[in-house]
Amino acid sequence: MKDFGYLAATDLATAVRAKADRPDARFLGGGTNLVDLMREGIEAPDTLIDITRLPLTGIDERPDGSVRVGALVRNSDLAAHPLVRTRFPMLAQAILMGASGQLRNMATVGGNLLQRTRCLYFYDRTTPCNKREPGSGCAAIGGFNRMHAILGASEHCIATHPSDMCVALAALGATVEVESVRGVRRLPLLDLHRLPGDTPHVETALDPDELITAVVIPADPVAANSRYRKVRDRASYAFALVSVAAALAVEDGTVTAVRLALGGVAARPWRAVEAERVLTDAAATEAEFARAADAELAGALAQSENGFKIELARRTIVATLRRLAAEGSTR
């Protein structure tokens, strides 16, 4: 690993000032992704600004019922919090289905949002990758791409975003708070991650000196009846081939509200707006669930090895909604 300077920030103002002054610095949270990338030579910052001593570790309910989660809350602490377990079960499940117990104890919420793709060509410095080296090409297109994107990809990059947590946050309509020397701003989580287009190396809507300080989850009664379902090659401790975060409300056999997002299919957590549109006020039947899934996946595009994902996504959406419909109506 290339040597670097280390700076332990003790307050937020110092942290964002230090980043503004050092374009090649990186913020260091739990380190579970960044340290690995540095060891592989994919990331080579000249300075690490350790932010783990900043007071961004609260999980607070606000008067409007929303929950504000500090960016330095560890993944396991968020999954274990009573508010999350009761009001947003799909979020607790999503976190618990990611990584391992040890990694969840280290990884922060802000870091989870900003983790880099696990595309194996991105990690392999002997192959071209437009994310790692803009303009060099994409070895995944036509290569080993069974893990890769079926939605929103481009001819320059077909990598997926690896987070489970983000998929649930996308379904929940979360907002991200960021801070820099220019002040505080908020953006929808759905606007944080960018699709690759012709600039796959630009992965988020953040300015280089901005620090994520919190995630706000709005109050949503529908979310109490929610689930996260993840399909992967191993039963545990593997990235998603396809995942579904869903919340569903059914009254008299009719869908009155639905939240749906997909993981493992695109460069960002994929809010299934088309499927939600089809489902709202539709009959809560398997046929309607399938029609909604088809509407969402109409634009899906397979690579040489990942065509199975389209049918897998369809079936996983239907299965998750079927289960929520059954559970929601027995309560």
Binding site: T32, V35, A79, L96, A235
Partner: protein
């Protein structure tokens, strides 16, 4: 170079380290505590698991400078019935993953005692029983290439049952 003070297995220690030194290398190469093993060095195998303030982490992805002032427990400092239980249940063959398995299990049992759910918990709003399926899921961050999983799960089940 930075001076990093930590409490390791109850004793206050101080080491001069470059910021890029992992907690794992600090323990093994600088403090001579070779019980903690380096497997993959990328957070995938769990061989390097230690406890920080009682919580399990993988020490290979931890930069030692970040752990200034913290309390680290390695296998050398674990006094726990799990150690004898692993022997009784043949919870290992080559033994390379064992210190990580035991440190991880100590942390895992504490997490379960706090009522946490896991990926296989049917309803995440309830505290689950520590079934075999729960143990296997919660220990999935520790790989054993010899495949001693049945013994590992047996040892943990016995200790969990008291």
């Amino acid at each position: 170079m930075a001076e990093v003070r930590m409490k390791v297995n109850g004793a206050t220690t101080s080491v001069e380290l470059e910021p890029r030194v992992s907690l794992l290398d600090a323990l093994r190469e600088h403090l001579g505590l070779t019980g903690t093993k380096k497997g993959c060095d990328q957070g995938a195998c769990g061989a390097c698991t230690v406890l920080v303030d009682g919580r399990r982490i993988v020490s290979c992805l931890a930069l030692a400078v970040q752990y200034e002032g913290r309390e680290i427990t390695t296998i050398e400092g674990v006094e726990h019935p799990l150690r004898a239980a692993f022997v009784r249940h043949d919870g290992f063959q080559c033994g390379y993953c064992t210190s990580g398995q035991i440190c991880s299990a100590v942390g895992m049992l504490a997490e379960h005692k706090e009522g946490t759910a896991s990926a296989v918990t049917e309803r995440v709003d309830a505290a689950p029983e520590l079934t075999e399926a729960e143990i296997r899921e919660r220990m999935s961050g520790n790989l054993c290439r010899c495949g001693a999983y049945n013994g590992i799960v047996g040892a943990i089940s016995e200790v969990a049952a008291g």
